[in-house]
């Protein structure tokens, strides 16, 4: 059985094929292929500078990939080729949401508004591009009430309902992180891309985050793509793991397999194999060892 085509038995929601991203001479990602599945948490891990965030930036339209194809098989709307879409249409049409490594909220807006903004397109349509909304037509008010309900639901889920009217910039760091996830969910995504959601969280908050992500996966039946450094999070909740190092995929598989994979351990612990060193360095090293052995 080919593990790539059917990671854990579901339909592939996201297919990344031969993704390459070059910045001038620097190959940030080289020929990476993997899949993310509906109702599964797929983690992308790797040492710093492995190209994890670059993968996200390609997926969400920040970068146009140099090569490769990114297909999102939307369960209701059919396939989208993400690499060909203009930035804002990816969340708008393909329903892909993302969060950032460093939290990016709208600090001068209230917590509730930060979520309502994610309903922008629904509300724009309902308000007839502002004209009817200004007249307070019933249809718009219903749509707005529906959006507010959705936002309140997510505020409740992340435990921020009582802070709804505070400015988002005044929230504590952990709260801001959860709010960012809630905002991403208010887009009603089919694929949620989380860039290090546990960064800077204390162990208790981190455990709560795990619960939240599992609940999102199970109750809302969407795919989650996760970049994470915190191994307790990665090993605790991911269904499938893709390991990148220096922009290349070095391993993929279920958590137990990855935990014991020698290439992964080597990438993380930085064990330098002599046959991977440049030949002249390896030769020097061998000579040194030989002289030491003699001495």
């Amino acid at each position: 059985m080919n593990p790539r085509s059917e990671p854990l038995g579901g339909a592939p929601l996201l297919q990344v094929e031969h993704l390459t991203m070059r910045f001038g001479g620097l190959v940030a990602i080289g020929d990476v292929s993997f899949e993310a599945t509906d109702r599964k948490i797929t983690a992308i891990i790797g040492p710093n500078g492995a190209g994890k965030t670059t993968v996200f930036n390609c997926l969400t339209g920040f970068y146009k990939p140099t090569e490769g194809r990114l297909t999102l098989n939307h369960p209701h709307k059919g396939p989208f080729l993400l690499e060909r879409m203009e930035g804002f249409t990816i969340p708008q049409k393909a329903d892909v949401a993302r969060t950032f490594q460093n939290v990016r909220l709208f600090p001068a807006m209230s917590v509730l508004e930060n979520l309502i903004i994610a309903q922008h397109n629904v509300l724009m349509r309902a308000s007839g591009y502002t004209l009817w909304g200004l007249l307070g037509l019933k249809r718009f008010r219903q749509a707005e009430a529906g959006s507010v309900d959705l936002c309140r639901y997510w505020l409740d889920r992340v435990g921020l309902l009582d802070r709804a009217d505070d400015d988002a910039g005044n929230l504590a760091y952990g709260d801001q992180r959860r709010l960012e996830i809630a905002r991403a969910m208010c887009i009603r995504p089919v694929l949620l891309c989380l860039d290090e959601p546990a960064a800077g969280l204390n162990p208790r908050e981190s455990a709560e985050l795990n619960q939240l992500l599992l609940a999102i996966r199970d109750e809302h039946k969407i795919g989650i793509l996760l970049i994470e450094h915190d191994m307790s999070v990665v090993m605790g909740i991911s269904d499938y793991i893709v390991v990148l190092d220096y922009g290349r995929k070095i391993a993929e598989g279920v958590p137990e397999a990855i935990r014991n994979d020698p290439t992964v351990i080597k990438a993380y612990l930085g064990e330098a194999e002599e046959d991977e060193l440049p030949p002249e360095v390896a030769a020097d090293l061998a000579r040194e060892r030989a002289s030491q052995a003699e001495g």
Binding site: G87, F88, Q92, F100, F106, M109, I116, M124, S127, G133
Partner: protein, 303 residues
Amino acid sequence: MDYFLQQLINGLTLGAIYGLIAIGYTMVYGIIGMINFAHGEIYMIGAFISLIAFLVLGILGITWLPLALLIVLLAAMVFTAFYGWTLERLAYRPLRGSPRLAALISAIGMSIFLQNYVQLLQGARVKPLQPVIPGGIVLMEGTISVRFNYIQMMIIAATIVLMAIFSLIIAKTAMGRAQRACQQDQTMSALVGINVDRTISMTFVMGAALAAVAGMMVTLYYGVIDFFIGFLAGIKAFTAAVVGGIGSLPGAMLGGLLIGLIEVFWSAYFTIEYKDVAAFSILILVLVFRPTGLMGKPEIEKV
């Protein structure tokens, strides 16, 4: 006292006009951090379009005043908004992402271009319009009677109504929310599915529509316009926006009123020649003591 009251009314009227123009500056600055120096010219074009609309209505024989005013208002807003949209599309959008100075120079270029464009098409001579809304009410009889002209009432009323509508748009509608979001973080706005380019275009359209109203009011109020009125009015309105705190909508209105009142009172009690000096001195004074303007929020750097 009566003299003071009369000047107060005049000052509020002028201030309302400055405020309407200043909103365009402040909105554009808020969203793309650029001073749209061609905004004064947009206002001038609004004045010309309303003048043309009045003349066309006169030819067509539509003389019932409320209807005529409404048609002129809508025509001026729509056509001027189109100019605003085109301006952004041609002169600023291609420069998005380039250094701010490039867009600024492009704005100055557009300002010169639009002045010459109107001068070529309409001629350099002053264009008159006979008083459309004559009369007014006399508030106080005396050696100097205090008059509150209907046109002044209309200007102040229209300004209040428009301010209310636009504040509502910014605060309550999806469009306004998107504008505020783009002010804070354009990248993130795109990631929640907001079409940032369209939102910026809409900001220009809204600013231009308000400038068109100011242009129409000035045409009605003074009865003369020429291709150069945009320059000084633009700079005054820009001053108003900065005094009020650039980026702040109520600030722009407050700044406009302040500049209008100062200008009028200075000409009334001191020398009319130095009224512009007085207005710009206020700018300097405010910036010395409150660098962010009266209602602007200081940018706090988080460490």
